[in-house]
Assembly symmetry: C2
Homo-oligomer: 384 residues x 2
């Protein structure tokens, strides 16, 4: 199996791009990544996307984007794993290069959400859950996360306000990320007083969606010559699933797919949680931050909020998370999010994260969650 | 790169399965394939599907199906390439096994279409075309194919009735396939008199859609011990794209992605068209049969219909096509079709194709077309 490197990254700002279509924002990210890599060609494009069929009446995104970016003819497919689609596309790209089928792959994610009426988007997001046993009962995706958070507060005795540090950290870091959707610092008071979305999830627990695209360029390590700069290698690329419906889990407060995919990634990379210098986790809702930290071995079960309260999660702390704003403040353009996470880890490992740089970061992890924890993809990157 | 074999196949009948949900028909095909392979476990599931988000309000099919078939925890993703989604899933599965990331993969396709009102399905199918430059102008997917066929008749001087042998052959072969949707023999007279769908495409030029699922089990060849039976190897697994919009092609009557993916597959397999004993092509419309035969090197440009008229396409003839009914009569459950094609080639190479058996078939090809020729996946299988 050939070792794979990321030699180019690209992203658009997350926001409401009323003046650009889906293919245009996708193209911006791809061209930026190719330019960063110093390449003009690729053998394949893997596109992470969840909802284009419903929101833009457009499937066949592989052909659409290959055509648009001037790579007409190359292999191109859309990969879907709900909110985990982006990292899923990177995982496919890694296998395509590792197998020897391809020498250069663009793995990207794109989602165009702003132009669709909110009820349509809410219904489209609910397709990540079990349509027949969850969505048909009327529970939305936020609703499922609220049920999990309510249970967590009850089971482990935390107060809702104990989750504030996760959101405060994400917002603080996003201020220095020009591609982030939100650039407002928030306080504990603002968190506490934010309007309720779905009890106990308030506006400061929930990530904003948006339009966005991000891309990486993947090649085999053995074809590269040293160029003096740091080389970012894929040390682990894994995925795992869980029951699609939350009610079927033995413990709805344990992200077993996060645990499984992280363990596989640690094994592939030959590292353990203490070796991770920066961790881009899937903070779509603040409860997911706690559950991810626990499942990946950074906190004891039920003790996730402690890391925030004890000041362990900032760029200079024990386990920096949401270092460029996370889903909470960079924004969550659903099918693109997993690629944004990986792009941000690459920035950290290259020392290009600006004011949020984690000094001496050599090993970074990105974890992308599809559904209510039903499909989780973990990547570990290493700089050398 | 490890060589990959198909050791199990499964399929459901193509039809209107009012009593079964999407996950149920998917599960039937997966369990049949695992049973055929003599396996109970797999490392990953790749699901080809185009329209579940719109038609069944269900995305995240990887997690859904892994959960349903009792393989909760394994890696699982949905692959979308419009009508080419099924073969796209097999192509991903091949790369996953070839790379060494996985030891056993289930690649499958599923589409559930019967329960949706026809205008919704027609709109969903149009998402395979260019939403902004084709579908928004009001042209449906059948309409695009009709424009291509009209141009072909004009350019090369064929009569519409010259395409009849393709449909007659498909219907004749489907009679012996218990999984086919249609079991009615048709005559030249019936073809000529069939009601018009979209001039010049009449009912006998167009394939019926339907509910269906098909699956294959993929493993590395080097892990298998001889068991006395034929072993079906993946000799070629390729894809190529073209412009998504038909009007952007230099020649709308030439399937360049079929040509490119077939040439790559011939090279990978070390064969040429004369070596292909059976060819499952993508006869969604009879014009696509002619264009595929030409692009893959079985007929001169503009001469595709000649193969039908000269009796070259039946099970005992020079290049047997639609040997189990093809899309025209087996049916076209969109995202599943590419896997049905591969399952049928495996049946031929194993000598299990019953009354439609191509004697001594050793090398078979399956070609799955997404969009109006914009994303085309070609597999060559070899029996040994």
């Amino acid at each position: 199996m050939r070792e794979v490197a990321i030699i180019g990254i690209g992203q658009t700002q997350v926001g409401e791009h009323w003046d650009k279509s889906l293919r245009e924002i996708a193209g911006e990210a791809v061209m930026a990544a190719l330019n960063d890599a110093g390449r003009e060609q690729a053998d394949g494009i893997f596109v992470g996307n969840m909802m284009s069929g419903t929101l833009s009446h457009q499937e066949n995104l592989g052909a659409l984007i290959a055509d648009w970016v001037g790579l007409r003819g190359v292999e191109a497919f859309k990969i879907e794993a709900a909110c985990g689609s982006g990292a899923g596309a990177v995982h496919m790209g890694v296998m395509a290069v590792a197998s020897g089928y391809m020498e250069c792959v663009i793995a990207m994610g794109v989602e165009k959400m702003s132009e669709t009426p909110m009820p349509v988007t809410t219904a489209a997001l609910a397709t990540a859950a079990d349509a027949e046993y969850e969505a048909d009962q009327g529970v939305s995706f936020v609703g499922l996360n609220a049920l999990i958070m309510q249970r967590y507060l009850h089971e482990y005795g935390w107060k809702h306000t104990d989750f504030a540090p996760f959101s405060i950290n994400a917002h603080a870091n996003a201020i220095n990320n020009p591609n982030a959707r939100l650039h407002e610092r928030i306080t504990q008071h603002e968190y506490n007083k934010a309007r309720m979305i779905c009890d106990p999830i308030n506006l400061m627990d929930a990530s904003p969606t948006g339009d966005g695209a991000a891309a990486v360029v993947l090649v085999p390590v053995d074809t590269l010559r040293p160029n003096g700069g740091p080389l970012v290698r894929i040390a682990g690329s894994t995925a795992a699933t869980d029951t699609i419906a939350v009610h079927n889990r033995r413990d709805p407060l344990w992200l077993n797919a996060a645990y499984k995919s992280a363990q596989k990634a640690y094994t592939q990379a030959g590292v353990n949680p203490a070796d991770i210098d920066v961790f881009e986790l899937h903070d779509a809702f603040s409860i997911m931050t706690a559950l991810s930290l626990e499942a990946c071995g950074f906190a004891e079960r039920g003790q996730g909020p402690r890391l925030g309260l004890e000041g362990e999660i900032g760029p200079g702390d024990r386990i920096p998370i949401a270092s460029c704003g996370g889903l909470k403040a960079r924004g969550h353009p659903v099918g693109a999010t997993g690629v944004y996470q990986i792009v941000e880890v690459v920035q950290q490992l290259r020392g290009e994260a600006g004011k949020n740089q984690v000094d001496g970061a050599l090993v970074g992890m990105a974890q992308n969650i599809g559904g209510s924890g039903s499909n989780i993809i973990t990547h570990i990157l290493r700089s050398s």
